[in-house]
Amino acid sequence: MASTTRIRPQTAGGEWANRLRDLRARLNDLNLSRIWAGERGLVLGLVVVGLVAHSFNMLDYPSFTFKDDEGIYAAQSWAVLREGHLTPYTYFYDHAPAGWLLSALWMALTGGTNTFGNAVDSGRVLMLGLHLGMVPLLYGLTRRLGGTPLAAALATLLFSLSPLAVFYQRMFLLDNIMLFWLLLSLYWLSDEAGRLSHRVLSGLAFGLALVTKETAVFVLPAVLLLAWRQRRPHQGNFAFSSWFVPMLMVVSWYPLYALLKGELLGAGQAFGFFVTNGGGSGSGVSLVDALKWQSTRSGGGIFNLDNLFWQLVRTDWWPRDPILLAGGSLASLINLLRGWRNRQALIGGLLGLLPLVYLGRGGIVFDYYILFAIPFLCLNLALLAGWLLARLPGRGSLVVATLAVVALVVSYSLLGSLPALFTEHPDLAGREATSWIKQNIPASSRLIIRDDLWAGLHEPGLGGPSFPNAHSHWKVASDPAIRDGVFEGDWRKVDYMVMSPGLIESFNATDNKVALAALAHAHLVKRWESPLGTESLHPRQIIEVWQVDH
């Protein structure tokens, strides 16, 4: 340290120019730090808003029995933690594992899967943490893309208050983890000083986003544009590689893993040379096949107003939050057009539109995929609002912005989608069912269950022992190790079934002969119904236990 502080930068223009430069730099530092000191309070306030909106009632609504996916990631975290495997069943590269490796780490650090309730609850607390991390990141990103503090505050308020956002962000999903890495990457990449180390970190974070959920690749054009814009003369020839190489490094671990297991290429193509290691040659799964499968899952085609995307817009996303959905999309479009003259707006617009293009491409889309678009819709709406507000005289912008936020919260309340988040408890059925099973069914019983109860039943606690023979109906349908191994292809081996509305359709769709036959020979033992709530936003949770008569 000693020798640096004393030495002044030497630049063109002689000593006076140096001193002037020095002074200006010092003033800049001062200004920035003062601004940040002022804004730090604001950001802290926004984090508190996020904390309240996100956390209150978050374990109850939406119910952990609502989506299979939460249960799947809970089960996979459990498998990492308890068995040292990526999944409790054969890992078939449906998604890269970084997401649930993180949640497993989280569970390990917080003392197990059941610290906050069941494993899904534990995941949800992690989601809360990530959301609180994303608030300052989104704020900073909006600022760095040219937004005023007001605009940045607006973006994060939308992000924390939109009923659409809160509903899905509470859930323990890979998308939420991926978004955290993505925002972190964008934030680092947009560093004003263009520090090389921040570009490296940004590359690493983007790599992590990709190996958490591959869909992050769809915003790559916007990220590359940002990386290109953020080049600085002092970075020399390292501007590009400093971002790209770390990113590739992280991503390449995924295929490398598959290679080491002998599961990179299709079963027929695997190099015999590489399979000395994992003993995975017999599993018949492969990364390349899985990627092919993922990319070809159809959702109705792109020019089809009845494809999955438009169905979800009409039935789910629009009813939850039309303001963000319509406003954000429109703002993204306008920002893209503004981008003709303003590169920052162009990057913002691209970030908003690319996820929408991905969702609307006509492939398979699930309701929670909207998560990918949400922070960027907020960003765009705020950038546009900030741009418009800046045209108002004096304190007008602050008044208008305050009124807008009040109007927003009032309209959300009138819509009914906001209050439901804090008042309804559809999870009760699932929790009662878990503890009843734990107390009333022998632990050695063979059960066919849904994924939502999986981790809860396999981990001791929650009112009883573990149920090692409780298996997901998907695996009973398709995994030979379960169907033919555990159940020997015979419905008589099934002791109990946990059912819920719509499950029979799934059995039929997957041609689950064992489950269908078992159900045909079973009788209802117990049934739980969650309290009545707003049906349009969250279906009532009904869970039944059936005993198979041998």
């Binding site: 020798s3 030497q10 080491l260």
Partner: protein
Amino acid sequence: MNWSNFGLVICSLLLAAQSTYSTALMLYAWQDDGKRQKARVPTQYKRPRVHFTILLPARHEEAVIQDTIQRVVDLDYPHHLVQVLVVIEAGDRGTIAKVEEKLAQLHEQGIYHVELITFSDPPINKPHGLNIGLKRATGNVVTIFDAEDEPHRDILQVVNTVITREFAPVVQCGVQLMNYADRWFSALNVLEYFFWFKSRLHYHASAGMVPLGGNTVFVWRQLLEWLGGWDQYCLTEDADVGIRLSAAHVPIRVIYDDEYVTKEETPPSVGQFVKQRTRWNQGFLQVLGKLDWLKLPTWRQRLLALYTLMSPLIQVLTLLYLPLSLWLMFFVKVPVWVALISTLPLYLMIVQLIISLAGLREFIRLHRLPHSWLAYPRLVLSYFPYQVLLGWGALRACWRHLRGMNTWEKTLHIGAHRTATAPVRPHVPAGQAPLGQLTSQFMFELDNQPSERQLEEVIRG
């Protein structure tokens, strides 16, 4: 997990951490704009006030010594403020004759500030020559150029400006190998200098622990005298002086402006390259063994010194580890996650290769050299053989060091052997350098009235 897996994981993680750190040091100069500005030379020169003594140690340099002297005479600085001392061992008649011839020529032109000094007592090596020169030096600031060096014409102006403006007691200017396209290993050798002088040395300066280079380094004469001169029995006397200066709390200023570097050439053959590398590595191990680095003020500096000086050992380990990890990965049944972690060092080596490619482009651009696309595939092909060469040089150094073979292997010709009498080797004098006293003395010599504040700044560093 069994012990071999555990060892593999720990080894991989340590080596990976090491590579990450060294990569970060390679790229330090490109981190932000402030670093770039600080490394630049001033564009307006101050009035020449510093009196320089230039030491030109030479041995069997008949071919180039006259040119070298001419280049030093041609430096753009008033001759009455420059003393040039050509130091040669008395037995080296050929070089001495060439120097005398040149001196006669200069005298005819009325140029009298170049002197020839000879010495005959052992050891016959560069640091001894430097110490002989130092005794006869009269300038305020002593500097060194090697016989094959091509310093920039303005270098004394630059250093005069920096020293009179900042009262920097030590200034290290950039040294750069230039002939990147000559041999298969040249590009990578050039890049080592590029990353070392342009980037890593600045990090060392900011940390207050600088292993100095062998030439184009400027030190206050009295500071050198206080320090006891160079260690005649050290193979890298330059790095040793740097460590001792750092241990005495002396701030070291580093300048690397692409235009003002002292130009050098890569060794002419693989054999010479390995010999040079062996000498450096062995010198580092010697400096490590002298333990002066333990007297550095902070733990951070001590660790940095330890890390820098043990680089030969790290190179040896890397050389041995890489094939081992590949073999383990593909042919031995280890758990997949262990295999994944053991790929990390290899990964980082590839990262460094990519950085080298970008660095080569940067080097060619900054020095405005002719550009050839073939240079890049050549670099890729030579990268792993070069690592083996480095590892071999390091291995050789460790071996020689363990066997106590401390001969000076530098020149093409002979190595002078150690004398039988136990040598007195300079260490760090107790306590901090009397910088305040030296500074006021220095300023007095420069006919400069220092203000209280300036003095205080220098003392505080």
